[in-house]
């Protein structure tokens, strides 16, 4: 399944659809180049989770925590190129806790992700358009992806 967004606003809206459906312990992994919309989509997820504060890029600080309907860990592995550093970050506490977890550059810890999670892959089409592909693992995320897809189709 894939969705094409025509603007940052549409990417954010897609994130909101995902965020509305996230529960405790859910992990969403985001893959895509710089400027492809990962943080933008996460801002939408935050809105969907009822988070009122602005969600900023956590590239520098690696992990941001936000409080919403479900707490959200927003993790950004941009600056971590070596997987041993990720082990030392104490990733288990984030990935296997009572929060939802969105991980930018999540492919860098692919083997550490829980068996059931949602991977999203971002591709540039042009300056504002992005292709976002859904790779759900497990029934729960398959259903979530289907529901988001349905909802986006209805909205258009």
């Amino acid at each position: 399944m894939e969705i094409i967004t025509n603007s940052p606003e549409e990417t954010r809206k897609l994130g909101e659809e995902i965020g509305q459906r996230l529960e405790e312990g859910d992990v969403v992994s985001l893959t895509g180049e710089l400027g492809s919309g990962k943080t933008c989509l996460t801002q939408g997820i935050g809105i969907g989770l009822g988070i009122t504060e602005v969600i900023r890029s956590p590239s520098f600080i690696i992990v941001n925590q936000h409080h919403g309907r479900v707490p959200l860990y927003h993790i950004d592995l941009y600056r971590l190129e070596d997987s041993s550093q990720i082990y030392e970050l104490g990733y288990e506490e984030y990935l296997y806790g009572k929060s939802a977890c969105v991980i930018e550059w999540g492919e860098r810890i692919e083997p550490l992700l829980p068996p059931e999670h949602l991977s999203l892959s971002f591709t540039w089409l042009d300056e504002t358009r992005r292709k976002i592909q859904f790779f759900p693992s497990g029934n729960r995320f398959q259903d979530l992806a289907d529901a988001v897809s349905q909802s986006c189709r209805l909205a258009r």
Partner: protein, 343 residues
């Protein structure tokens, strides 16, 4: 009789320790990445993991004391950054400071990293007068703050996506420049034409936050331009990007100072070392008879002297932390007006 305070800062990449006397006399200012005690990590790969802080913290504290010519018994207090930052990193600094406080029976002082940055120019200019507008620009922060006293703030604006320094580093990465890219962009830009590539410079936020920033769009515009025109001269690219980023920062800072009717602007954080930002802000401020203060480059980056320096003002007011001081990853500035705290 001087008041000696040991400061410790481990909020993100840097492991730093410093001794400052009476809030402004820097006796030592030690930063692990500068001194390169762990060359294998130094500068290139960020020292994110607590283990790296753990390895560096004791040598840093000892170095700070020996350079200051003091021993633990001569300290009047120990101060430490307790947020905002990466939780595991913050905890190493806090554990160290707490241990020193407990064993040496000296007060423990908890400092907000952002307050430390805002204080940094005072270390060299103890005469800065309030009220002032402060602009913190670094890899993790872009905040515009109205300061009425040493510990009285109002948040005027902040980034809605990427921090200013983050935009510099990411643009550098896309241009194939090594990390950290900010200083390299600064250098290349000096030789390029800032008007060569038109880039977006202005984002107006409709929902009543006129001092907020956004750097994600600028970053994306640079990436898009380089995809279309891969042969763009890196000097022109650097100059055009830097000009766009700096002009937004300067315009906002000046606009905020005029809005608050203050004549003092304080520039702080790693990006405050950018020469184009310093020059442009100074020029624009002086044209309006405003004064700009910024720290030396070593005090722009994350350091412990700003922590020890600011701690003095808490020391004289006996604002001490208890030994159960905890790290607060998303610590905010204690703002004085409700309107800007609910952001």
């Amino acid at each position: 009789m001087s008041c000696y305070i040991l400061g410790i800062e481990t909020s993100c990449d840097e492991t730093a320790a410093s001794v400052v006397a009476d809030g402004h006399k820097i006796l030592s200012n030690c930063i692990s990445s500068q001194i390169d005690i762990h060359q294998e990590f130094g500068g290139v790969v960020p020292e994110l993991a607590s283990r790296h802080h753990l390895e560096a913290i004791n040598p840093m504290v000892e170095l700070a004391l020996s350079k200051a010519g003091l021993d633990f018994d001569q300290l009047d207090a120990v101060a430490v950054t307790y947020g905002p930052g990466l939780i595991g990193s913050l905890l190493i600094g806090i554990a160290t400071a707490t241990a020193i406080s407990f064993t040496k029976h000296i007060p423990l002082i908890g400092i907000n990293h952002l307050e430390g940055h805002l204080y940094a120019p005072h270390l060299e200019h103890p005469d800065i007068e309030y009220p002032a507008v402060g602009l913190i620009v670094s890899g993790g922060h872009t905040e515009l703050i109205y300061i009425t006293a040493h510990d009285r703030y109002e948040l005027l604006g902040q980034t809605r996506d990427d921090a200013a320094g983050e935009a510099f580093d990411k643009v550098a990465k896309v241009m194939g420049l090594p990390y950290p890219g900010g200083p390299i962009i600064n250098k290349l830009a000096g030789e390029g034409n800032p008007k060569a590539i038109p880039l977006p410079r202005w984002t107006i936020f409709k929902n009543g936050h006129p001092f907020d920033f956004s750097f994600s769009g600028l970053k994306t515009a640079v990436i898009y331009h380089l995809r279309k025109e891969p042969r763009t001269d890196p000097k022109d690219m650097a100059a055009s990007f830097q000009q766009a980023a700096v002009s937004v920062l300067v315009k906002h800072a000046i606009k905020a100072a005029r809005f608050k009717e203050v004549n003092t602007i304080i520039l702080a954080g790693g990006v405050a070392a950018n020469t184009a930002l310093r020059e442009s802000l100074t020029l624009e401020a002086e044209a309006r008879e405003m004064k700009v203060y910024f720290p030396s480059p070593i005090l722009c980056t994350d350091n412990a002297a700003m922590i020890a320096g600011f701690a003095y003002h808490k020391y004289i007011k006996s604002e001490f932390a208890s030994l159960d001081l905890n790290a607060v990853a998303n610590l905010r500035l204690k703002v004085t007006t409700q309107a800007s705290s609910n952001r």
